[in-house]
Each structure stands twice: as C-alpha cells, then as structure tokens.
C-alpha cells in the first residue's frame, strides 16, 4: 500500500485550506502563519535535497537563507532610497519585481553553494558539518559588520515587493505566491529524485565507493545537489524577507541553520513532504506552546528527542511507514 502520496496530498490540501478558511473568516494573522509555514517549508525543501537525498549534513544552510534575504534587500533598498544599485561603470537601478529578486536570490545562493560545496565536500561526516557551520558563521559576521545594510540592526524594506497582476500586500495573495513556489519546487524535486540524477544521487549517498567503481563520480553529484539545495533555500530566504519586510543578520545565524534542519528531521529526512510537515508542526508548537510557556523550546526539544529516538522517519515516516520499495 502506498500511503505516502495520499498523506502528501492531505498535507498539500490542508496547507491550502487553512488560509482559505481564515480568509473567509477574515483572520489575516492565520494566513500570515500559513505563509510562514510555506516559506520555511521551502527552506527545508532546499536543505532536504542536500541532507535527505544527498546525505550531506549541512549546518550552514542559514548562509543561503540569509543570502536570499540580503539579495532582496540589496535590490529593493535602492528603490526606496531613490538611489541606484550601481552607478559605475554603468548605471543599474534596483528593482521591486519579485521574479527578478527571486532569480537574483537563487543565482547568489547557487553561486555561494558552489564555492562552499566545492571546498566543504572535500571532507565528510563531522568535518563536513563543522566546515559548513564555519562558512555560515563567516557570512553572519560579515553581515553584522556591513553598515550599508544596517549591520547588526538589519534593514527594513517598507513596501512589499511586487508581482505583476497581484496585490502582494494582501495576505492571501502573497500566500498564494509562496504556496505556488513551494508546490512547484516539490514537484520538480519529485521529478529529479526519480530521474537518473536521483538514482545516482541515492547511490552516492548510500555507497559512494561502489558508485565510483561503477564509473560515476560521487563528488559531482554531491556538489550538484548542494548547489540546487542552496538555490532553493535562498529563494525561501528572499520570500521570508518579503514576508517580514525586514532583513537582519539573524537570518544567517547558526540557530537558523539548526531550525531549518529541525523542520526536515521533524517531518522526515529524505521524504518529499517532510519539510512541510516539519515546518507546520514547528510553527504550530511555537504558536501554541509559546502562548502557554516562555520555555516552549524545552517542549520542542523533548518532541524532537522523541522523534529522533523512536520515529526515525519523522512525522511522514511514522504515518506512512517505510518508503515504498519502488519497482
């Protein structure tokens, strides 16, 4: 029996139905929460390609999340300051166009992942975790000491960026954008995982030595997965910055890396909808337990401990069982 596709469908519908109901009942705060879930799930979906499908435990994905956020600020800030993005050697204006910002965020994320990945993938295991963490912290301290974009205080972008034909300041319309991007990325991920690349990547994760003996270079596969992963997490960062209309170095902090990893582990590592389930659970716990106790993260920690100890496949694994054995 294949329960996982069914469960994925339920999750996709629930994430759509809740904000629609909130819209009908005029509860914009709930729509904003759902938007936050969709965007954080997207960040997790990016990490899941490296961590889940590639087996690369990156504790530096906040770097890509933050790069996406700062890409948004760098492009949008000149517009609100009536300035130019670049005046020499030729004049380049900033932009408030979301598609352009997304493209820039993804390109910057991919480029950063290419550099960080090419250096980090020379190591493995705990060294890989440490070196990705180190790169993340380097960017964090760089952002703190970057006065042009507010340094430690970050920078506000007062008007949300635009998307042709939509009013992005309307919560439900902005949600639709985030949700659409999340679903598109998950669909493309699904396709990629089932294609030749996905099979080879699974081989590289499970047995790199054997893969090399079959004439396929694990490094190339890992690096490609890392670049795709960084680009997606950067896209999520740009959206997150637009949701808050604010960017600060905290997006780049190692706590952010940890949280993105928690979404993936809570939901199910290497499961397509794992990050969606994980991000939703995280935001719900933050909202509910946060209202009950200031120490809600203690309870989150206990839940995380329980899942790691007793439910290896996370929420999806617990509800849908072992991954289908394929053909």
């Amino acid at each position: 029996m294949r329960r996982e596709p069914l469960l994925n469908g339920v999750l996709a519908l629930a994430l759509l139905a809740v904000p629609l109901a909130a819209w009908a009942l005029d509860e914009p705060f709930v729509i904003t929460l759902a938007t936050k879930v969709a965007i954080l799930a997207l960040a997790g979906a990016g990490l899941n390609i490296a961590l889940g499908y590639g087996g690369l435990v990156s504790l530096g994905h906040a770097a890509f999340f933050g790069i996406g956020g700062y890409a948004m600020a760098v492009l949008a800030a000149p517009v609100q300051n009536f300035d130019l993005l670049m005046s020499w050697p030729f004049e380049v204006p900033g932009t408030k166009s979301m598609p352009l910002i997304w493209l820039a965020a993804m390109s910057a994320g991919a480029l950063a992942a290419l550099v960080i990945g090419a250096l980090s993938l020379r190591t493995a295991g705990v060294y890989f975790i440490m070196i990705t963490l180190a790169f993340g912290q380097m960017l964090y301290y760089f952002a703190i000491s970057w006065p042009a974009y507010g340094g430690e205080d970050g920078i506000s972008i007062y008007v949300r960026n635009g998307f042709a034909g939509l009013n992005t300041l309307d919560p439900i319309q902005f949600f639709a954008l985030a949700y659409g991007l999340l679903m598109a990325v998950l669909a493309l991920t699904h396709m990629m995982v089932r294609a030749r690349f996905g099979l080879a990547l699974a081989g590289a994760r499970q047995n790199p030595g054997r893969l090399a003996a079959l004439g396929i270079r694990p490094f190339s596969l890992h690096l490609s997965a890392f670049v795709i992963s960084g680009a997606i997490t950067a896209l999520a960062g740009a959206l997150y910055a637009d949701l808050n209309r604010f960017v600060s170095p905290s997006m780049l902090s190692w706590q952010t890396s940890g949280e993105i990893m928690v979404f993936v582990i809570l939901g199910g590592v290497g499961r397509l909808f794992g990050p969606v389930a994980g991000a939703a659970l995280f935001i719900l716990l933050e909202h509910w337990l946060g209202g009950v106790s200031d120490y809600w993260k203690l309870f989150l920690g206990l839940i995380l401990l329980g899942i790691v100890l007793f439910a290896r496949g996370g929420l999806i694994g617990t509800l849908a069982g072992r991954e289908d054995a394929h053909d």
Binding site: R194, A195, A200, N207, A212, I216, A325, D327
Partner: protein, 253 residues
C-alpha cells in the same frame, strides 16, 4: 607464436606501508578469454594488489595498464570508465535501493548520463531491459523488486556480479566471489563465472581451491607481497615451493 596483448597488466608494482612491503614487485598479465586466479595465504597482499589495480591505492613504483594504456595516474572512476569492473570482498551495494535499481545504476555508469533530471529512470526501457538481462544471467530472476539490504548473503554476491556484468567491462577483477557461500552456492557461482569469461577475462582472487582449480586457466601465487609462482593449474599443483608456502597436502590429492 605471438602472444596476445594483455587486457590488464601490472608492471613491477611496489607499495609499502611503513616497513611492511605489502606489494613487492608484482608483475601480472590478464590475457583475453582467460580466468587468471590469484591465490595466497591471508596477509599475502591480495587486497592491496586489488586496491592498486582498481585505483583505490596508488603504488610507490610500477605501472598498471588497461588495454595497453597506462592508467597508473587514473582514479577509480576513470579506471571503471576505461572498462575495469570489480566486485568487493564484502558485498558492496546500495542497501536501500532495489536489485533492479542497483543494476540500473551500473548500466547508467557504463553508458553515462547521470545528469538527467526529467525522465523517470525506471521508465527508461533501454536501461531497464539491459539491467533485467543481467539480473536473469546471475540467477536473480524474479527478485528485482527486493531491496538490496533484504537479500540473503548469496543473493547479494550475485547482485555484486550482476552490477559488474552491467558495466560491460573489458576486464573483471573479482575479490572472493565465493566468500561465505555454502557448497551449493559455490558450485552455482563457479558455473556462473565459467560462463562470464566469454564476456571478458577475469582476475579472480579466491580462497575456495575447488573453484580455483575448476576455473583457472592460470594461477599466480602471492606470498608476502611477491608472486612466487605463476603457471597452469598442473604446474602450480606440482610446484614444491607453492606446496611449502601455501597449499596443504590434502588439497593436492
């Protein structure tokens, strides 16, 4: 009579780990159509030699040639692409993938094109047919849907072989394919390898002497990193030095 050009050749390979000479001047030739067995006691340096041939180890001196081309500087991936298929002493497969996926991965390795992101690989008829053929050939018919980690030991040895076959190699290097198999399994594996030599010559490292004597065209005996004797089955059986160094009398009856 001109001797056929060797498919795989090592020339005076040397590798030391500290004071230990693990490989000490090994020259070996694998000729077209033959099964060349490499035998020797534990610690003789067989695994080191396989590592040097496959590219996981680099020699201090000497050369490895594949089809007359010097591959000493090439890594594992390049040697595999040049037509070297190896199996591992301890079964080495992708444990979470099915038998079919493992073999398809090997076909994919041989044919290239791992950077394709769109078409589902399991719907790739050509890749699939090639993999199914190799699965049948090693006697795993009907087991293609099973996850490799769930296979019995003997079946995993066969899967190893199917993956090597799927590479359509110029030469096989098989590291103890009979290891851990019962007498029946070893007999079936012997028949399988006998058939395999028509695809490509085999360098066979094996402890099972029944299998070696049944299969080998030539045998080389490795002791303390050196080849002390090399010849036909009859020559090796009769060689007094081999008897002394390695073979028990009862095996030679």
């Amino acid at each position: 009579m001109t001797r056929p050009a060797p498919v795989l050749e090592t020339r005076d390979l040397h590798l030391s780990f500290g004071a230990l000479k693990a490989t000490d001047g090994v020259s070996l030739r694998l000729l077209p159509g033959e099964i060349h067995a490499l035998i020797g006691p534990n610690g003789a340096g067989k695994s080191t030699l396989i590592g040097l041939i496959a590219g996981t180890l680099r020699p201090d001196a000497g050369q490895v040639l594949l089809n007359g081309r010097d591959v000493t500087g090439a890594d594992v991936v390049r040697r595999a692409r040049a037509g070297l298929a190896r199996t591992f002493q301890v079964s080495s497969v992708a444990a979470e993938l099915s038998v079919l996926q493992n073999v398809m991965l090997a076909v994919q390795g041989a044919r290239g094109g791992s950077f394709r992101f769109v078409r589902p690989v399991l719907a790739d008829a050509a890749l699939r047919a090639a993999a199914m053929g190799d699965i049948d050939r090693v006697g795993l018919t009907g087991r293609h849907r099973v996850v490799a980690g769930d296979l019995a030991h003997g079946e995993r040895r066969r899967l190893e072989l199917a993956m090597a076959l799927a590479l359509a190699p110029r030469a096989f290097v098989l590291d103890e394919p009979m290891a851990g198999m019962g007498p029946d399994g070893a007999r079936e594996m012997t028949a399988l390898l006998d058939d395999l030599r028509h695809r490509a010559p085999i360098l066979l490292v094996e402890h099972d002497m029944d299998a070696v004597f049944a299969l080998a065209d030539r045998i080389s005996v490795l002791v303390s990193g050196r080849i002390i004797a090399s010849g036909t089955v009859a020559q090796i059986r009769a060689d007094p030095e081999v008897r002394r160094a390695y073979l028990g009398e009862e095996i030679l009856e």
